[in-house]
């Protein structure tokens, strides 16, 4: 019977993600001229009505994780954001995020909190650089 508590303990592993960003344009970690928009593609449809996307310039020495947290804490129309407010309410496997014009050189974090088709919330982020 000693095996029972072990099996019970093993049963409750932590939850993980279901939906993922399969590609981003500009590509993750790429250095590009100031883009006008970002394109995200997902491995399955995403409920955009309940999803949040933010693009924010990383401060010097700021970790991407911290930048992503800070970006997601901002309101959709915050002046600090590098993207313009996004209004999308449908179910989609691809999303275009318009960016403000003439982004300054530096690193930018693209952060998301999305609702997958099967109802699971997922968070994540990528980084790209503007030259």
């Amino acid at each position: 019977m000693r095996v029972v508590p072990i099996l019970l303990a093993l049963a409750f592993g932590s939850a993980s993600a279901h939906t993922a960003v399969t590609s981003m344009t500009p590509a993750a970690d790429a250095t590009v001229s100031a883009p006008k928009e970002l394109v995200l593609k997902f491995n399955e449809p995403v409920e955009l009505r309940f999803s949040t996307f933010r693009v924010l310039a990383l401060k010097s020495g700021q970790a991407a994780d911290d930048g992503a947290q800070a970006a997601l804490a901002l309101k959709a129309d915050a002046t600090e954001l590098a993207n313009t407010p996004l209004i999308a309410r449908n179910l989609a496997a691809q999303l275009r995020i318009p960016l403000k014009s003439n982004l300054k050189a530096g690193s930018y974090v693209v952060a998301w909190k999305i609702l997958s088709e099967d109802g699971h919330p997922v968070t994540g982020h990528n980084v790209f650089m503007v030259k």
């Binding site: 939850a15 993600a17 993922a20 309940f50 109802g119």
Partner: protein
């Protein structure tokens, strides 16, 4: 229980327990132990379904930062997962009403089907097409029959060998349905059964299979105890606890990413 565990496991566990009490309880009252379990247990099942559905919706929306009343209404009516919760609740209410009003078995069967269809739409069953959705519903229904039957035998004052023999074909049918639908769903969600140990989802699935194996062993021990007429109740408690562990692991499994849903590029989580 940590907040993450509370948010991912509790709502599903409440839903599974609620469905087992309500659907399994109604089935037991109609085919195994007439009038037992009492309506109060079916009410507890309904309460768990309401609580599990509501807490699942709350934790999902709170995690996404959408907690206004309009968000809740949009979620329940505008997303597949939200509509599944509404369907589940409607099926549960009609099933309890059908049982209280002593409607025909056809009404109970239809309401159970609606409830199970909603339950199957919350989680992995929602994202692999209609056939997988149906299989998730059948899987849940079979589990409800097994758990409901064991619960009815356990809570009945005098559970006899005759009752146990009456339950056996239903239990075997449930196990057969669980096995076939389980293998099919595993192939759908993992792609290759040989690769199960390579992912957290696969390892949890193997753990669930281990618990199911223990539950089957416990069921055999219970049947033997009935045959010789000794020590039935402690063994029935053992079978019920093992089934409870199966439901717990299943609740954990439904919050994890199957390998067929995994990330392919730079998705920090």
């Amino acid at each position: 229980m940590t907040p993450d565990l509370l948010a991912t496991v509790w709502p599903k566990l409440a839903l599974y327990l609620g469905a087992a009490l309500l659907v399994g309880g109604v089935a037991a009252r109609r085919v195994l132990t007439p009038g037992h379990p009492g309506l109060v247990w079916l009410g507890v099942g309904l309460a768990l379904l309401l609580l599990g559905g509501a807490s699942g919706v709350y934790f999902t929306l709170a995690g996404l930062g959408f907690t206004a009343p309009a968000d809740l209404l949009d979620y329940l009516t505008g997303t597949g997962a939200g509509r599944a919760v509404l369907i589940l609740w409607m099926g549960a209410l009609v099933l309890l009403a059908a049982e209280i009003a002593e409607l025909s078995w056809l009404a109970a069967l239809g309401a159970s089907g609606v409830l199970l269809w909603g339950l199957a739409g919350i989680g992995h069953g929602a994202s692999h097409g209609q056939l997988t959705h149906v299989l998730h519903g059948l899987h849940a229904g079979a589990m409800c029959l097994w758990v409901g039957g064991v619960f009815a035998l356990l809570t009945r004052r005098r559970a006899t060998a005759v009752l146990a023999r009456k339950f056996t074909p239903y239990a075997l049918g449930s196990v057969l349905t669980l096995g076939i639908s389980g293998v099919w769903m595993s192939l759908e969600h993992t792609g290759n059964l040989l690769l199960l140990p390579a992912s957290a989802y696969g390892r949890t699935l193997l753990l669930k299979l281990a618990w199911v194996g223990l539950a089957l062993l416990a069921a055999v021990i219970v049947r033997r105890a009935f045959a010789v007429g000794q020590g039935v109740r402690p063994r029935l408690i053992g079978e019920a606890l093992t089934l409870l562990a199966v439901l717990g692991v299943t609740a954990s499994l439904s919050g994890q990413a199957p390998p067929t849903h995994s990330a392919t590029e730079h998705s920090g989580h």
